[in-house]
């Protein structure tokens, strides 16, 4: 197990290196930050030159990259071109809110998808199943920013039940989480349904029934626990796209997260903030995938982490 984790960590470092190369060079294709900073006036060439030097932009690109990498190794993500604040602090500050939102989305998705998926599978072919599937389709079909705006209109503007923007307590989390988790819940409900159906036709379910167990024990304890295995994998993979999805939702709900910070930074060509934000998101992504891999062996005894056969 330890060997497996070490191997995966080394692997993760390679992934992060590759990501750092892509981010670093691709944002430098977007234009010169200094011209953006001086967009208002007509600066002298000397002024531009001195700002460049200050920011370390006068060095050749490979050198800039190596400096970035060296600092990254010590978790120093540099300072914002604009505010001069250390990026590491900025990112850590905002990451909490983003993760909270992402987990909120996953939670909402599970809260909706598990019952819908299970009921659809158990009542296969009935009206319950039909509406469950329609619901999944609707969930998948809504763009989340539109859903976000609709939720604000209905629950904040008209009904005035819940706050529309910002973060100042648990009630602020509800609408953005729903907006974020809805699409995921649609896909997840379908996955749970098909996974349940697959397992319900397995013979061990008949075994459980022949033990005289109550039907819901058969469904929850025997079938659902096995159907959970592909579901967890899926959630792990989807967590990444959910983190990406927060960028839009954070914009809609003025959520003080990393996504909004990155968008602002892109507008201002604030290289260190973009780099730092994206690298941190990537790290979390890699970490979540590692956790998912480890959790397999906990959920499914047939899989021994490390690939050792039994």
């Amino acid at each position: 197990m330890l060997q497996f984790i070490i191997r995966r960590l080394l692997h993760s470092i390679l992934v992060l290196l590759a990501i750092s190369v892509i981010i670093f060079f691709s944002i430098r294709l977007t234009g010169d930050p200094v011209t953006v900073m001086f967009a208002a006036g007509e600066p002298s060439p000397e002024a531009i030159e001195s700002v460049r030097e200050n920011l370390g932009l006068d060095e050749p690109l490979p050198v800039q990259y190596l400096v970035f990498l060296k600092n990254l190794a010590t978790f120093d993500l540099g300072e914002s071109f604009r505010t001069g604040l250390p990026v590491t602090e900025m990112v850590v500050d905002k990451m909490g809110a983003t993760l909270l939102l992402a987990f909120g989305g996953v939670f909402v998705a599970m809260l909706i998808a598990f019952p819908v998926g299970i009921l659809s599978a158990v009542k296969r072919g009935t009206a319950v199943d039909f509406f469950g599937r329609i619901f999944s389709l609707i969930g998948i079909s809504f763009p989340n920013f539109w859903l976000g705006i609709m939720l604000i209109l209905i629950f904040s503007v008209n009904l005035q039940w819940l706050p529309a923007s910002g973060y100042d307590g648990i009630e602020y989390l509800i609408l953005p989480s729903i907006a974020l988790g809805m699409i995921l819940s649609g896909i997840l409900a379908r996955l749970v349904r098909s996974s349940m159906l697959e397992n319900l036709s397995q013979q061990y379910v008949s075994t459980a029934r022949s033990k005289g167990l109550k039907e819901w024990v058969v469904i929850m304890r025997h079938t659902f626990r096995n159907a959970l295995i592909p579901t967890i994998t899926f959630l792990g993979i989807q967590f990444g796209s959910l983190l990406g999805g927060t960028v839009i939702i954070e914009q809609v709900f003025s959520w003080p997260g990393v996504g909004r910070m990155i968008i602002d930074a892109i507008n201002q060509r604030d290289y260190p903030v973009i780099q730092g934000g994206v690298i941190m998101l990537a790290m979390i992504m890699v970490l979540v995938n590692l956790l998912v891999d480890i959790s397999y062996s906990l959920i499914d005894p047939r899989i021994k982490a490390g690939g050792g056969s039994s």
Binding site: S210, G212, N226, P301
Partner: protein, 333 residues
């Protein structure tokens, strides 16, 4: 052998609807998996049910257990009709009638440990109070089926096919059943393992006074293991007789053809093989009259018209028009 009838199946039918139409609500046709089957099992005996794949043997077994709901007919366990039992009664009946499945790889929950699998019925039926007592009982059951105590915390995938089948047997025994339906219990196993498992089943029968319904397509296994044998064809019971009677002189032409296909380990003995023409007809569209008549070498006019009933022929049962007349006709072929 005790002669008390423990289980009686009367006119059991299981039709699976084939649905179609835009909304999938219209029943287009029915697959008659079990079509009017009757038989009884005596306490302590082993009743074999043989037939080709798809003839409804397994469906019969599962319908007796109510794992599949019967379309029609009665299943009388100790004189009580199971098909009309309430939920509470059914729970108790589940304990009395247990099943061992064909595929030991699919029939055990992969996420549960062996101990948990065997323990679950003990908890569910309240057969054993207290953690310690239950664990002791699980270990006792494991010992009974030849599993080692240290295997209690392993998962099913860590076992071989034969061992898994032993787990399946221990699980069934945990319910303290009086009847075990063994649905092709050894057909997924290697031949060398088959005899071990069969011997185990036989030992357990002696020890615990169990009654078996043994479903199989393997005629040599059935001959070795069963006291009485029922032969099924296309969802119907065509012949039912004691082991020796059936193997020495099958009455139904299908049973005769089936038995002639068993390889005999005697080079000197000239065996006549009866090769059946054609395929088994579809159970969704069985032939009129006797289901076997399109392939029967002894076919008569009446066979395509009237369905023969399973009738008593000097203590054994056969469903064939050849035996309608008071005197048995001269057999040729």
């Amino acid at each position: 052998m005790a002669q008390e009838t423990i289980l009686e199946v009367k006119n059991l039918k299981k039709y699976f609807p084939i649905k179609g139409g835009i909304f999938g609500k219209k029943t287009l046709n029915q697959v008659k998996a079990v079509d009017d089957v009757s038989f009884h099992v005596k306490k302590g005996e082993t009743l074999g049910i043989v037939g080709e794949s798809g003839c409804g043997k397994s469906t019969t077994g599962k319908t007796i257990l109510q794992l599949i709901e019967a379309t029609d007919g009665e299943v009388l366990f100790k004189g009580k009709d199971i098909t009309k039992a309430s939920k509470q009664e059914m729970k108790n009946l589940r304990r009395e009638i247990q099943i061992i499945f064909q595929d030991p790889f699919a029939s055990l929950n992969p996420r549960m440990k062996v101990g948990e699998i065997i323990e679950e019925p003990l908890i569910n039926f309240g057969l054993c109070e207290g953690k310690k007592a239950r664990r002791d009982r699980v270990l006792e059951l494991m010992d009974q089926v030849g599993l080692r105590p240290e295997q209690i915390d392993r998962h099913p995938h860590e076992f071989s096919g034969g061992q898994r089948q032993r787990i399946g047997i221990a699980r069934a025994l945990a319910c303290e059943p009086s009847i075990i339906i063994a649905d092709e219990p050894v057909s997924a196993l290697d031949v060398s393992i088959q005899s071990q498992v069969l011997n185990l089943l036989r030992d357990l029968q002696k020890e615990l006074g169990l009654t078996y319904i043994f479903i199989s397509h393997d005629l040599s296994v059935v001959k070795h293991f069963c006291d009485r044998i029922g032969v099924m064809y296309l969802g119907r019971m065509v012949e039912m007789a004691g082991k020796h009677e059936l193997y020495d002189r099958p009455l139904h032409p299908y049973a005769e053809a089936l038995l002639s296909a068993v390889p005999v380990m005697d080079p000197k003995r000239k065996k006549k093989d009866i090769i059946l023409e054609g395929d088994v007809p579809s159970p969704s569209d069985p032939p009129k009259g006797c289901a076997f008549h399109p392939r029967c070498p002894m076919k008569m006019d009446i066979c395509s018209e009237v369905r023969p009933q399973l009738e008593n022929q000097n203590g054994r049962f056969v469903a064939c028009h050849l035996y309608d007349q008071p005197t048995e006709p001269e057999r040729t072929g």
